[in-house]
Every structure is written in structure tokens, then in C-alpha cells.
């Protein structure tokens, strides 16, 4: 009943002859819709193909005419579990969770300082932060390797935690700064008039407002840390290997591997996909934070 009343009956709005402008707009909408779908499918297709391939036999996985119809099998997943995925997952979780936590602990006060409480030469500070991202990782891997080797931290998961924290911190500060800037200045003034200490202002007024933004930042950090390969493959071996390192173990130069690699990659992608799914609403809220003013 309630449903019927809430929807306006069609008869109330007589179908007026469509105006030309509206027609144009709807045609544009259709085109935009089509383009959005095409782009969406183009982005999704490789993922779809990966999942599909993971259920194939090796002989079906790489054929000149790609096979869409085949007899599905779980053999590849069994193979991945038999290869001992456990320690790699744990290492990835440790590296991801701790680096993200450290990024937030260090990044939130930093972003606060360079946005709402501008320190001297804010612009320079911001530039220093981001400048560390301008050097390609491959250019610094040799010194990093030598230093890590010298201090005896090769193949240690905490090395990755430190590196991932450093890797994500600049992006996090920049992202969170833009969210902090959205906080209305009057709120802060009010707080300072009330005599609230800085820490309380941050915790009780600012953070609740920008929590979707922090969430989005954390998720980006999680994704980057979870997928990071270059540091991991160069600095770890048997103790601290992470999921991406586990994945390349399936690539072989003398045999077939596409199906099993797809299965391993699907498993590796799953936690991030789930995290993204769970956080979907917050993420959209966070990423569009401040888009409309």
C-alpha cells in the first residue's frame, strides 16, 4: 500500500510531446551510458577472464581461439593451496595492516598540520612529501638493498612494513589534506574559543567529519601495499615473501601455467575485492568528498 502511494501514478503526468532539447539531452545520456558501459566492461574484462581461466584445465587456458565453453575444474585452486599459500597470505596481511596503521598514525597529524594548522612554508613541505614519489623505485633499489643487507634485515617482513609506510605516506598526506580542507573553519574557531586542546579538537570535531575520507585513504594504502611486488621480490626470500611474490612462482619457462596462475591471482585479488566491496559506500563518499561545494 505504502509503495503504491509513494509512486506517482502515470496518469497524473500526461505524456507531453517531448521537447527537442530534452530529446537531445536524452540522446546524449544514452551515448554517455553506452560509453560508460564500454569503459566499464573494458576494465572488468581482464578480471572476468582471469576468473574464468582459473576454472580451466591448462590445455584450455591458452588457445588461439579462446575457449568460453569448457568443463570447469577446481584442480587449479587445489594446486595453489597445495603449493603452501598460507605464510604468504599472513605476510601480506602483516605488511598491509601495519603499514596502513603507521601511515594513518603519522599521516593524520601531518595532514592536519599542513591544512587546518598551516605550518611555515606549507607548500614546500607538501612538495617535499610528494617529491619522494617522483623517483622511480627501480632507481633506488640498489642502495636500499645494500642498506637492508648491511643492517641484516633482508627477508624480514618489518622491512616491508617500513618501506610500505614510506611509500604510502606522501599519497596519504596529500589525500587527507584535501579532506581536512573541507572542514568548515567556524567549527575550529568555535572549538578554540571553547578552549579545547588541539588533540581534542582533532579527535572529536575534525576526525568524525572526515572519517569517510580517512577510510578511502586507508583503502588506497591497503591496495597499494597488498599489490606491491618490486620491493617484495627483491628484499624477501623464504621468511617474508608476500602474495605477489607467491604469484610469480607459478610462471614457468618450461610448461603450461596460465590456468594455475589465474587461480592464484584470483585468490590474491580476493581480499582487496572484498575490502573494496565492504567499503564501497564509504569509499564513494570519501572519494567524492568535496567534489560538490
Amino acid at each position: 500500500m505504502a509503495v503504491t502511494t509513494s509512486t506517482p501514478p502515470d496518469t497524473q503526468e500526461p505524456a507531453a510531446p517531448p521537447e527537442p532539447r530534452r530529446q537531445k539531452r536524452s540522446a546524449a545520456n544514452v551515448w554517455l551510458g553506452v560509453i560508460a558501459w564500454v569503459v566499464g566492461i573494458a576494465f572488468f574484462f581482464p578480471v572476468f577472464w582471469m576468473v574464468l581461466t582459473s576454472f580451466k584445465q591448462e590445455t584450455d587456458a591458452y588457445t588461439t581461439t579462446p575457449k568460453i565453453i569448457f568443463e570447469p575444474t577446481l584442480e587449479q585452486y587445489e594446486g595453489v593451496f597445495a603449493a603452501g599459500v598460507g605464510p604468504y597470505v599472513v605476510n601480506s596481511v602483516i605488511a598491509t595492516v601495519f603499514s596502513t596503521l603507521f601511515v594513518l598514525v603519522l599521516g593524520i597529524p601531518a595532514a592536519f598540520a599542513v591544512s587546518l594548522r598551516p605550518v611555515k612554508k606549507t607548500q614546500d613541505v607538501l612538495f617535499f612529501f610528494i617529491s619522494t614519489k617522483m623517483l622511480p623505485v627501480v632507481a633506488v633499489i640498489v642502495p636500499i638493498y645494500v642498506v637492508v643487507n648491511q643492517i641484516g634485515m633482508l627477508d624480514n617482513i618489518w622491512t616491508l612494513v617500513v618501506l610500505y609506510t614510506g611509500m604510502n605516506l606522501p599519497i596519504a598526506v596529500w589525500m587527507m589534506r584535501s579532506f581536512f580542507l573541507e572542514v568548515p573553519g567556524e567549527l575550529l574557531e568555535q572549538a578554540s574559543i571553547d578552549g579545547a586542546p588541539l588533540w581534542r579538537t582533532l579527535r572529536e570535531i575534525v576526525l568524525p567529519i572526515i572519517s569517510p575520507g580517512i577510510f578511502a585513504t586507508a583503502l588506497i594504502c591497503v591496495i597499494f601495499a597488498w599489490n606491491e611486488f618490486f620491493f617484495a621480490v627483491n628484499l624477501t626470500a623464504a621468511n617474508a615473501g608476500t602474495m605477489p611474490v607467491f604469484l610469480v612462482g607459478f610462471i614457468t619457462s618450461e610448461g603450461l601455467y596460465w590456468a594455475q596462475l589465474s587461480a592464484a591471482a584470483t585468490l590474491a585479488a580476493l581480499p582487496v575485492v572484498i575490502a573494496g566491496w565492504v567499503a564501497q559506500n564509504k569509499l564513494v563518499q570519501g572519494l567524492s568528498f568535496g567534489a560538490v561545494k
Partner: protein, 459 residues
């Protein structure tokens, strides 16, 4: 009430979070989850290997070794060839010490032995009764030696040969010569080529990489009489012989080769040949295990084998071996040798052959001469096993081509710069196969690279 409950609930969340984090940190131990489970008094041996099928078989048999040697626990780091090579080289060269056993090849072993990075294995072999060092195929053994001493021991060895579909040859009334030449193979490829979108004549690698397209192409260059350098280290990549060889290879794969050739490597060709989409395939002898496996190939049992095709040299097959060495830095050399000698022993071949999940078709070939005397192996691999042994015995890394060369190696030049030089050259060749540049352009550019490297050896 409700407020209190909520407050209590809220208080609990950080506590739970803290507990989870703490247990994660504990789980991480001091270095990572892979370090867990080591008991006291047990030596942990870390093995870096290349993730090829035979190595995966060895990993699956490793628990048997651990059961027989309770004092030793094994951990494997299995990486794809390129990653493994980069990782192992970095670790061994800098004394990183992550690994007690490394899987390397006849490209690295003599160079690294000379640098003092590897342990001389002769004393260990002498102290291991029944290991029988002289059972290794002589050319393989020599390729892993420096100043007469072995610095790594072969797990398996391979040469290159030509695989072809016996049934298609029969239908077309073609006879494979006992020692085919490349022009003959080109002619047969044209005959059996059904055109685009259908079965093609031959599969040849075209993917960039010194271990990809350069491996088969180098054997073609050698047998056409080409070489990388003359004895004075002057680059020879624009010589008529090299030009002719590369033009031949590129033309053959472009005209009668597999689709997407510039991206095809071993795995891609294995699939295409195994699916009956090409009539011939020239590649590593280790391919036999894959294409004769009914689970991975629809043409198993219908394959014939011929020696690597030649032009101006009596033989042209390559020589490659994946072997195990102990870095000088390892503090666990005795335990490492215990496992290495187990994995490269005669008994291992028997163990793998009898294992129902591995079987005689997949035992590591090309390491020991005695493998070729095993009746069960002869029975399943009789078609191609003698060719592998013959290819390895005839390979000549000292004199790979017609004219003398200042380097060693068949499908590579055994100098440290070759990884880079070979890869750059392969990118040019791959571009020529894709039709983006001409063979002449590819070789001009490669010649520049080769000259730069050669200059550092000229005195």
C-alpha cells in the same frame, strides 16, 4: 542501559583490535610467517629454485628427504626464471646470504666460480659414497666446471631438437630426414601450412628475452656460420652469415609460423603444438615431457623427433642445464650438500620415476648417463631420449659455429654483459618478427650494442 552497553562495546573494539594486531605481530615472529615451525636442533636449509615442472616435482618429493633426515628442514623459494635469476644473482653477488642452495645454470656457474662466489663441490662429491660424479654427461659436467672442478651439480640438462607431427607427415607423404637442414624444414613448413586462422607450419619462439627468442635463434645463427664476435672481440652481427640466418628465421616464422609470434615463448608454443595448431616445433628437449603428457597435450603419441636442423655445422643443438650450487656465504654447507646430493643422485631418478604423481616421462633428463640405461625410462621415452643424450653429447660450447670465437656457449655468450646484450638484441629481433622494423635495422642496432660490449674486451 543501552548506552552503557554501547560504551562497553565501543571499549571492546580497540581491545579486540589490539589483540588481533598483537597476535599478528607474534605470528610474524621476528622476520616473517615463513620462519614459523622450526624446531630446535633442526637446521633449516633455504633453497632458491626456478619454478619449472621438474623442480615442482622435486618440491613434492622433498618431504621424503625430510623424513629420512630429521635434522634438516627445507624451505623453497620458487620464482619464475627471470625473477629467480635476478634475485639469485643479487643475493649471491652481494653476499645477501638468504639462500643455502641456489639453482643456476651453465651460464652462471663458471663465471661465479671464478668470482669466488660458489663452493667447490669436489670434496663433497668425493666424500659421498655412490654419488658417482663421472656418471654426469661429460659435456654437462664440463659446462659446470671451473679449472676442472665442479661448482654446481646438474639437476637436469637439455639440448634443442625438432618435434613434428608424424600423422600429418604421413598424410602429406613427407619423410623427415635423419638429419634435417633448415632449408628442408622451411620447405616442409610451407607444405604443411594451411594458412591464417588454421594449422600453421612451425612454431618458433619470438618473445623478447635472451633466454626466449635468442636461444633458438642463436643455434640458427651458429649453424649458418654466424657468430657474435671474432677472436679480436669485434662484433659480427651485421656479417652476411648472421644477416642470412636472422632473415631466414624471421621469414620462416612470419610466413609459416604461429600467430602472435613476437609474443610466443616456450609455454605458448607448447600449447599450440599440444593443441595441434602447428605441425612442427623447434625448442628445448625438455618439451617432450609436456607434449607427451596426455593431460596437457592432445597430440601425445603422434609426435616424431629429429635432431636440431643444421646448415654449415655438423650439429646445432644447444646445451643448457639447471644445476644446484652452494653460495660461499652459506653457514650450512653440509646440510645443503645432503639435500643437493639427494636431489641429483641416481636414486632420485628412480624415486621420481616410481612416484605415481610424477612417472617416468617426467624424470629429470639430461643429467646422468645412467638414466638412459633404465629400462622403464627407455620404454616410455625411447622415442626422444636417445636424441636428448646425443644432442647434449654433440653440443660444443667451445666451438659453437664454423669460425673460431673468443667466448664459450652455444645459445649464449658466457660473459656477464650478455644478459643485457642478449635481451636488447632479442627486443630488436622480436620487433622484426612483429614487422615493426626490418631485419637489417634490427641487426644494425644490435651491432651497436654488441660493439660497445666488445670494446671492453679488446686489449
Amino acid at each position: 542501559m543501552r548506552g552503557a552497553a554501547r560504551r562497553r562495546g565501543r571499549g571492546r573494539t580497540p581491545a579486540v583490535l589490539g589483540a588481533v594486531l598483537a597476535s599478528l605481530a607474534l605470528l610474524a615472529g621476528c622476520s616473517g610467517a615463513g620462519a614459523l615451525g622450526a624446531a630446535e636442533g633442526v637446521e633449516t636449509v633455504t633453497v632458491a629454485i626456478v619454478s619449472n615442472p621438474q623442480m615442482e616435482d622435486a618440491i613434492s618429493l622433498a618431504p621424503q628427504f625430510e623424513a629420512e633426515n630429521p635434522g634438516i628442514r627445507l624451505r623453497f623459494v620458487s620464482l619464475s626464471e627471470n625473477e629467480a635469476r635476478a634475485k639469485i644473482t643479487a643475493s649471491v653477488a652481494t653476499g645477501g646470504g638468504e639462500f643455502d642452495i641456489v639453482m643456476i645454470s651453465n651460464y652462471e656457474t663458471p663465471q661465479w666460480a671464478q668470482n669466488g662466489w660458489l663452493t667447490n663441490l669436489e670434496p663433497y662429491m668425493a666424500a659421498t659414497p655412490g654419488y658417482d660424479r663421472n656418471d654426469f654427461i661429460p659435456t654437462v659436467r664440463d659446462s659446470l666446471s671451473y679449472q676442472g672442478a665442479m661448482y654446481s651439480v646438474p639437476f637436469y640438462g637439455e639440448s634443442s631438437f625438432l618435434m613434428y607431427r608424424k600423422d600429418l607427415f604421413e598424410q602429406a607423404g613427407i619423410q623427415m630426414p635423419a638429419q634435417p637442414t633448415w632449408p628442408q624444414i622451411a620447405q616442409i613448413a610451407a607444405q604443411l601450412d594451411q594458412g591464417q586462422g588454421q594449422r600453421r607450419g612451425i612454431c618458433l619462439r619470438g618473445k623478447p628475452g635472451w633466454g626466449e627468442v635468442m636461444a633458438p635463434l642463436d643455434t640458427v645463427i651458429n649453424t649458418f656460420g654466424g657468430r657474435w664476435y671474432d677472436p679480436q672481440w669485434r662484433a659480427q652481427l651485421t656479417s652476411p652469415e648472421v644477416k642470412q640466418a636472422v632473415q631466414f628465421y624471421v621469414d620462416l616464422v612470419r610466413e609459416h609460423g604461429e600467430p602472435g609470434a613476437s609474443q610466443a615463448g616456450f609455454s605458448e608454443c607448447a600449447t599450440q603444438f599440444g593443441q595441434g595448431e602447428v605441425a612442427m616445433w623447434y625448442d628445448a628437449t625438455s618439451a617432450a615431457g609436456t607434449v607427451e603428457d596426455p593431460e596437457e597435450s592432445t597430440v601425445a603419441g603422434r609426435i616424431g623427433y629429429a635432431p636440431a636442423p643444421v646448415v654449415a655445422t655438423p650439429s646445432s643443438g644447444w646445451l643448457y642445464t639447471w644445476s644446484l650450487g652452494i653460495p660461499q656465504t652459506s653457514p650450512r654447507k653440509d646440510a645443503a650438500w645432503r639435500f643437493m646430493s639427494w636431489m641429483t643422485s641416481k636414486e632420485y631418478i628412480q624415486r621420481a620415476g616410481r612416484d605415481p604423481s610424477i612417472g617416468w616421462t617426467s624424470v629429470p633428463p639430461g643429467s646422468r648417463q645412467s638414466t638412459y640405461q633404465i629400462p622403464e625410462y627407455q620404454q616410455v621415452a625411447g622415442q626422444y631420449a636417445p636424441l636428448i643424450l646425443d644432442g647434449l653429447q654433440r653440443a660444443n660450447p667451445q666451438q659453437p659455429t664454423v669460425q673460431p670465437v673468443p667466448y664459450q656457449g652455444v645459445q649464449f655468450v658466457r660473459i656477464p654483459e650478455f644478459q643485457d646484450l642478449g635481451t636488447r638484441t632479442s627486443q630488436q629481433v622480436s620487433a622484426a618478427i612483429a614487422g615493426q622494423i626490418s631485419v637489417d635495422e634490427a641487426l644494425e642496432q644490435s651491432q651497436n650494442y654488441a660493439e660497445t660490449v666488445g670494446e671492453s674486451y679488446q686489449r
